[in-house]
Symmetry: C2
Subunit: 296 residues, 2 copies
Amino acid sequence: MMPEHVVLTEVGLRDGLQFEPRPLPTAKKLEAINLLIRAGVREIQVASFVNPKLVPQMADAEALCAGLPRKETVVFSGLVLNKKGLERALAGGLQEVEVSISASETHSRQNTGLSLQEAGQQARQMIASARRQNVRVKASIQCAFGCVSQGRIPEDLVLHMARDLIDSGAQTLSLADTTGMANPLAIKSLLESVHGQLPFVPVSLHLHDTRGLGLVNLYCGLEQGVSSFDTAFGGMGGCPFLPGAAGNIATEDTLNLLHGLHLSTGIRIDEIVNITTLMENFFQKRYPAKIRGTVS
Amino acid sequence: MMPEHVVLTEVGLRDGLQFEPRPLPTAKKLEAINLLIRAGVREIQVASFVNPKLVPQMADAEALCAGLPRKETVVFSGLVLNKKGLERALAGGLQEVEVSISASETHSRQNTGLSLQEAGQQARQMIASARRQNVRVKASIQCAFGCVSQGRIPEDLVLHMARDLIDSGAQTLSLADTTGMANPLAIKSLLESVHGQLPFVPVSLHLHDTRGLGLVNLYCGLEQGVSSFDTAFGGMGGCPFLPGAAGNIATEDTLNLLHGLHLSTGIRIDEIVNITTLMENFFQKRYPAKIRGTVS
């Protein structure tokens, strides 16, 4: 059941950087992107198109898009949460947008001011707009495995949202464990349901290591046949509701696991370690990744 | 195949404390032991009986044994690496000793000055001595999944050592991933071989999170039917060859995983979190455990 090849989408420049106290300069982001490409990464999320006043780390999204290298083998994507963001991402010429909504009513209202119903309606319209412009759409469901304020989210709700997003034209589906609430049983159960209801839809997992189960959950995803995951160099990122909590699963630690399982990724682990070192030098802190130069 | 109940052996007072720069006072150790018992822990490794000049953190092993509470439901054990250590542990009145040897020639010589052959011969004699005094023996094989200097260790060597230790009278076997080299394939392969060759011997795993795979490896152990693991509160400990590396798998993070899988342990996670907080306050540092008071 395990896949032979696994695709990692690097989200360090988006989900990682947005938790840092100061922006990484655009030139540094482009340097990291070029290093990621050299390391063999083929899917890179470069920014989220959100209000620059609220998330100044992402204020240079347009400038970044303008500076992206021309590489036909690499997919650059942007996260969009509303129509304004989608317009900006489309104007930036990205090949893929991730249209993201939350399965938690509380989280949705906190993050976007929209109810689940309003956010769902808006997402359908955004997906249709992007598809009309021939841009690939990944639909993602945040808090698919629970949220800090509401606990577990009913699986039926997530299934209903997934079907709705795919019916609206999204090509792939991402189930996001935004605050690290998932565990192996929840991963297995939701994936079996989603695969059962939407058998031809590629499903990826976006996992956080908030409670230390990030790689265990990834392993269970592999056992369910998932071959696509979001990761962030260094394990950058965090959780807006848990100060000091661990962030995304680390790209280099994930590679160490995948390569240990003899699954191919095309990505060089040592070059990812170097990117983490660059980030640590810039932000003057140590990120959670365990794999280091001396350890890999 | 997964067990319904899992036994955790708390090794924070041994494998955790031995990496700290200064000793924890005996009274504080006893306080932690009483808190562990209150939390529901039933197997506690209280010390290693090594040269107090080399490992001053363990110099109070005798005093600690003398102060242990009388609890018939709790097994206190000590780690022993040589005959002198065994004598001290037996004199201390412990119910169980862990006789430990390394599967790595280099690691064995660095740690004890003995070749594998010499260490094996000594271990056989130690096991016989302990058994003559009706003390339970757990035999453990360090570096069973590889070592930093030699890389992978041949599985046949580990199997041969395991059989030898069990034939000498050890009741249980512990496979230790001393420097965090294991991965799911290695766990599965070695456990299948050991279970095949020694089907009636209870096997436990001692896992380190050096490369971030501690809980993934534990999960794979569960999938192979293993129901006994060593853990340390806070994820204390380290790796003598990798400064700054992560230590043992954290008791609280392990409990979070096990309870999420609906496996019983009898241990209260919040009380373990409190013990980690005590240690963090004493040593003025933060340990790697992800589960915190606000997260559990």
